[in-house]
Symmetry: C2
Subunit: 441 residues, 2 copies
């Protein structure tokens, strides 16, 4: 295979055949194609585009580069959810046990926080003892036994994607819809799913802020999933403000536990139920209302919280955190943040919050950085709400006074109060399936 | 320096500052910026373009990455020639001694053949014993002593260019005018020239086949040279057929020697004199006709041939080849090629010839490949010429019968005979200076 010839074709706007993508990925993972050739090819594709056939071939090549999870427990459909990421998005922590407690299998593979968005793995690891690096075989056994595992991408799953993602991260080739879609779907489809629900975030705090492009991303992933026999549905949800009140790893875990026990914030509850309904429907439940009722019952009966305890226990963590969230890491310093003036809350900027958490030690600049799980914010102010001067709007959780200072300055910027009329995005704007786009507001 | 940020800016159509290019090249040569980031950046620049300021900054950064040749011999202006490369282009071998014999200093740094075009170094190395890898200090002393050295790019000269060129070669980022211009000029300007003549080839056998783009390349190089105090002139010459009759290393060396002795083919003579005139004029000769007369006199008096002998001797080669070219490597098999039909020679395709020489062992697929100097062609057929069936058109020189077969098939393709009226490009179409474009036909 003459790689410069393939790069040249991509550079000049042509397409590679599925066979060429397969061979290229195989050679790349085997170390026969160097990173510099792959980097040139990715940049050419970033600027010249990929056909849908190429995106599909890339996905298949990435999936074929490793193993698949093969879960066999008859009568328990295998489903999962993926979020494109945001600030305060702790949905996975509540949703996976909730849906598993309704009889589905959920082999949830998640990522770490990088940039302004948090990662499910970091949130889970705030639970003392919790391990996310299980071998693939243990994952399979755990899902077959208790219906759910919550893990990181194992080395066996889509190694080509893992290597490609690391390369894209340092060569400015991340924000490319075909590459994003193929990367996400390669991991999810390796879980052997029959159904997948996508939570595609929209707004200033989303990974992709342009609504046109986030819809395109949803459509691309749906097409890729459906082509491979995995029914795929997306909800477009709001990320122009944080989801829920807690932002920061342990604080979010606590809030997810509250949601599982029926006492979480309304928006977190609503998004969790909406995604859960889609998962149940994909698994065979015909009636949306009945799906919602089953989920509500799992929460009120305590089954959902109990399932989370089972998962925590199976993965080496302390299940008592579900009854007593004070066992989670606690910040050294806590301070209340007050409104500097009266008026209407015009915005709570998620990106500013997300970046502040990184600065305060609760996120990463580099993949190798360690994370302080205790730091973050609990923000009660919501866009559209009327506030008085000196009214408490948030609490800052930090490891020291410098962290409190950082947090305060971030909130000064993030929470804008004035006299206008903000128009926050609808919490759940639309449902996208292979059949089209269905507005929900 | 955050390299992904620079790549992103280039990707999105922005420009890097001169300071950023300098720092980037320094870090690249120091090994702090990996090849994969440079490859992504080059591809982004290839597709998005470079401003003239960026091209100049890139050139300066490449020059600053190494040493310069500092020749001090008062009264002997330092000039050089560069050709964009072609098939049968052995001009350098004749021109450097010729101009040096007229009292100029010519520190000629050349390259090897790669792709369909030959390289001056390979041709020189067909002379038994000839060494092209002199240390920079020896080059300086030799030029000061005898007025000329003919060498390869030393490790001290523009190491950033050397590394960048190797990377571009394997990442499909070669054919980019700003990168080509900066690469060529970084080496030439490190020779400490007061004048430079460019032979920019045009036509199907040129490196760049589009006439617009080859003119743009000439103009870019002229601007870069003039900005740095090196007067630069370009001639646009024909490469829609091979130059001269000989194609292949030793065969071309022999033909260059014939040209130096006044008995070479007319087209080779004319191009050599035209370029030599420009070099003499750049060195202070005011009258074009007198410059031509000086060059003709150097040939007819034997001074030019004698200068070539001095150079060969200084670089370890056998100077007797100038009197007796049969000392050059001789092919095992030689066969005459006859016209298959009568008619007009419509074309002698240089690319087909160049690629055939590579296949016959006389060129390289990879930088590491060794070269058989003896193989090649002597083609007497010229476009426009009328030939009879079975008339001899060329001789094939090969190491075995398979080589002869390869050569014959290549000539079948390359020499097209028919009933049309070919319109070969004028041998020397135009002269380009910083003042503009002056047609010569």
């Amino acid at each position: 295979m003459f790689v410069p010839g393939l790069i040249e074709r991509k550079r000049d706007g042509g397409a590679l055949t599925p066979g060429e993508w397969r061979e290229l990925m195989r050679s790349y993972v085997a170390g026969a194609v160097p990173d510099y050739q792959m980097a040139a090819l990715l940049m050419a594709g970033f600027l010249r585009g990929f056909t849908s056939e190429e995106t599909a071939a890339l996905l298949d090549a990435m999936m074929d580069s490793g193993s698949r999870l093969d879960i066999s427990r008859p009568g328990r459909p295998v489903v999962d959810k993926h979020s494109t990421g945001g600030v305060g998005d702790k949905v996975s922590l509540a949703l996976a046990p909730l849906v598993a407690s309704c009889g589905l299998s959920v082999p949830m593979m998640s990522g770490r926080g990088l940039g302004h968005t948090g990662g499910t793995l970091d949130k889970l690891e705030s639970i003392p003892g919790f391990r996310t690096d299980l071998p693939l075989d243990a994952v399979r056994r755990q899902v077959e036994r208790i219906g759910c595992a919550m893990i990181g991408q194992t080395p066996e799953i889509a190694p080509a994607d893992k290597r490609l993602y690391a390369l894209r991260d340092v060569t400015a080739t991340v924000e490319c819809i075909p590459l994003i879609a193929a990367s996400i779907m390669s991991k999810k489809l390796c879980e052997g799913l029959s159904g997948l629900v996508l939570d595609v975030k929209q707004g200033s705090g989303a990974f992709i802020t342009d609504p046109e492009r986030s819809r395109e991303l949803a459509e691309t992933m749906i097409r890729l999933g459906e082509q491979r026999g995995c029914h795929t549905v997306a909800l477009l949800t709001a990320m122009d403000r944080p989801l829920g009140r807690a932002c920061g790893n342990a604080l979010e875990t606590e809030e997810a536990i509250m949601a599982l026990r029926g006492s979480g914030p309304q928006d977190l509850h609503d998004v969790t139920i909406a995604l859960g309904v889609e998962m149940l429907v994909l698994a065979g439940e015909r009636d949306h209302a009945r799906a919602a009722a089953r989920l509500e019952e799992a929460i009120s009966s305590g089954k959902a919280a109990q399932k989370f305890q089972e998962i925590i226990e199976a993965q080496g963590g302390d299940p008592k955190v579900v009854e007593d969230p004070s066992l989670l890491p606690q910040a050294e310093e806590v301070e209340v943040y007050y409104a500097q003036r009266g008026g209407t809350v015009l915005a709570v900027e998620p990106r500013t919050i997300g970046h502040a958490i990184v600065e305060m030690g609760g996120g990463r600049h580099q993949v190798e950085d360690s994370v302080d799980h205790s730091v973050g914010f609990v923000i009660t102010a919501r866009p559209g709400q009327t506030v008085h001067a000196s009214e408490p709007l948030a609490s800052i959780f930090a490891r020291d006074r410098d962290g409190i200072e950082l947090g305060r300055r971030a909130l000064d910027q993030a929470i804008r109060i004035g006299d206008g009329h903000p128009a926050p995005l609808p919490l759940i704007e639309a449902r996208v399936t292979s059949k089209g786009h269905e507005p929900l507001v």
